[in-house]
């Protein structure tokens, strides 16, 4: 490269340089001197310090002990952050949706809605993403923590408020509630008449009211 041929340093300077480089701990000038057979290392240390002052590594003295360390302005190189873009898993997306539609909501409530247990890690991921946070505790036995979405959640999904999330009817209209044949999933909530005959009847409103926490058991419908 264009730099002039570097001068070969003094042998003592080289020895001090190598000694400090290989040392497992900071060394006092006396210890270095002893190691090098009693030579006076003061000048060598000063020259090394001057030489390294502009380099990526500095020779520093702390409490009479000398050691090499990374230049302070490059300290950030020692610990780098690498960002990895990851897609939210299906489970995490479902949990996030439930929090958004039902907030504030406890983990037990999320599990009741999803019908499966929610791994603790799933909520952790959503909190790491900055989309869900703990907003308090439900004043019921056990005082479970309850979760809600964050402003970052709205920002990420481009929503002015949670009210902009499509309602159940809109989801249905969009075909997002279609996968199973309607006739198979409709609810019957009829009452027994006096002849003892029960008539099953679809209740349009029940879809709204359906927060299936503590789902009514089929036995109650008789």
């Amino acid at each position: 490269m264009s730099a002039p041929e570097p001068q070969r340093p003094d042998e003592l300077v080289r020895a001090v340089e190598a000694t400090l480089f290989a040392a497992g701990q900071p060394m006092t000038a006396e210890a270095i001197s002893t190691h090098l057979g009693g030579a006076d290392v003061g000048e060598a240390l000063a020259e090394l310090q001057r030489h390294y002052a502009r380099r990526g590594v500095h020779l520093v003295e702390r409490g009479k002990r000398w050691h090499f360390e990374t230049a302070p302005d490059l300290a950030h190189l020692l610990r780098r952050e690498r960002e990895e873009v990851k897609r939210l898993s299906r489970a995490a997306t479902e949990v996030l949706a439930i929090v958004a539609y039902h907030e504030p909501v406890s983990r037990a409530e999320i599990e009741a809605i999803r019908g499966v247990q929610t791994a603790k890690g799933t909520l952790d991921v959503l909190m790491e993403a900055g989309w869900v946070r703990i907003v308090g505790r439900r004043e019921v036995p056990g005082r479970p923590v309850i979760y809600a979405t964050t402003p970052d959640f709205l920002t990420h999904f481009g929503l002015a408020s949670l009210r902009e999330l499509p309602g159940i009817d809109e989801l249905r209209a969009a075909g997002l509630l279609d996968p199973v044949d309607d006739a198979q999933i409709e609810l019957a909530l009829g009452k027994p008449d006096d002849t003892g005959v029960t008539t099953a009847a679809w209740d349009e409103d029940s879809a709204e009211a359906e927060l299936p926490i503590g789902l009514a058991s089929p036995g109650q419908s008789g």
Binding site: F21, A22, A23, G24, Q25, H67, E69, T70, L78, R79, R80, E81, R82, E83, E84, V85, K86, R87, L88, R90, T93, E94, L96, A97, I98, A100, Y101, I113, R114, G115, E128, W131, F157, G158, L159, L165, P166, L171, L176, L177, P179, V180, A183, Q184, I185, E186, A188, P192, T195, G196, V197, T198, T199, A200, A201, E210, P212, L215, S221, G222
Partner: protein, 269 residues
């Protein structure tokens, strides 16, 4: 020729007796522990010819090896089988090399000798290479890496990605999955257990004798009860009601044969 074969190497424990026995030849010093097998011994003997391994005399080498083995046997040392096998093979090689050959064997003794020489060269080369390798400036012995490196750390940070559609779609999936749990079939007319229980119980209270289960059902002439699906429901519910009354000690159940008529009678307290 065979004296002082392994200078410097201390004898192993099992050789102490021999070394200190002060045998006829005090300079004889046998130490087989020092050899890594017969090839190693041969190589060492070959080196003693102080010539290039490519120019060693195989016949001399064979003699040296055999002398060595003979001396060991004279001292009644127990030699490992491979040393003896090598000795036997070398004796054969020697005789083959010396005797006039009538028919050419394949491979010829000369070729065998050449192969042995090549093997010794190869082993010798590796031994020398090992010595040169091990004498290099080695990291941690002659040269040193930084004694206290700060270390580099890379912290991985996840940036999570999720689309609006995925979110909404996920909610739709949750809804769809949750709903079937509470579904019933539409417009299916049934007789509930409760109504069957009260009907059977009421009729049983006034009956005097055994009655067949079917007699408790609403008469088919009565409008909707003509529907066969509803009749099946009524029969099933009445049967369960009968079982329930029997369980609670309010009724007796009897059936004379499999699939025969099921009869019912009140228990009078």
């Amino acid at each position: 020729m065979t004296t002082d074969l392994s200078p410097g190497a201390p004898p192993g424990d099992e050789w102490d007796g021999v070394a200190s026995a002060g045998t006829a030849n005090a300079a004889l010093y046998l130490e087989l522990d020092g050899w890594e097998g017969p090839l190693d011994l041969l190589l060492d003997l070959a080196r003693r010819q102080k010539v290039d391994l490519r120019r060693i005399s195989i016949l001399d080498l064979v003699d040296q090896y055999l002398t060595y083995i003979e001396r060991a046997e004279a001292l009644r040392l127990e030699l490992a089988a491979d040393y003896l096998v090598m000795a036997a093979w070398l004796a054969y090689l020697k005789s083959a090399l010396l005797l006039p050959r009538e028919e050419q064997e394949d491979p010829s003794p000369e070729e065998l000798a050449l192969r042995l020489q090549l093997r010794l060269q190869r082993l010798g080369a590796m031994r020398e290479a090992a010595a040169r390798l091990i004498a290099r400036d080695r990291l941690g012995r002659d040269v040193f890496a930084r004694g206290a490196p700060e270390g580099l750390r890379v912290d991985r940070r996840n940036r999570w990605q999720c689309e609006w559609f995925d979110l909404v779609r996920a909610y739709g999936d949750v809804k769809v999955r949750a709903e079937p749990v509470v579904h019933m079939v539409r417009e299916r007319m049934v007789m509930t257990l409760d109504s069957a229980l009260s009907r059977v119980s009421a009729m049983l209270g006034v009956a005097l004798d055994w009655m067949e289960l079917r007699e408790f059902l609403p008469p088919p002439r009565e409008g909707e009860w003509a529907d066969p699906r509803l009749r099946r429901s009524a029969l099933a519910s009445s049967f369960v009601a009968a079982l329930e009354l029997a369980r609670t000690g309010q009724a007796q159940l009897a059936q004379d044969e499999i699939f025969g008529p099921l009869r019912l009678k009140a228990v009078r307290g």
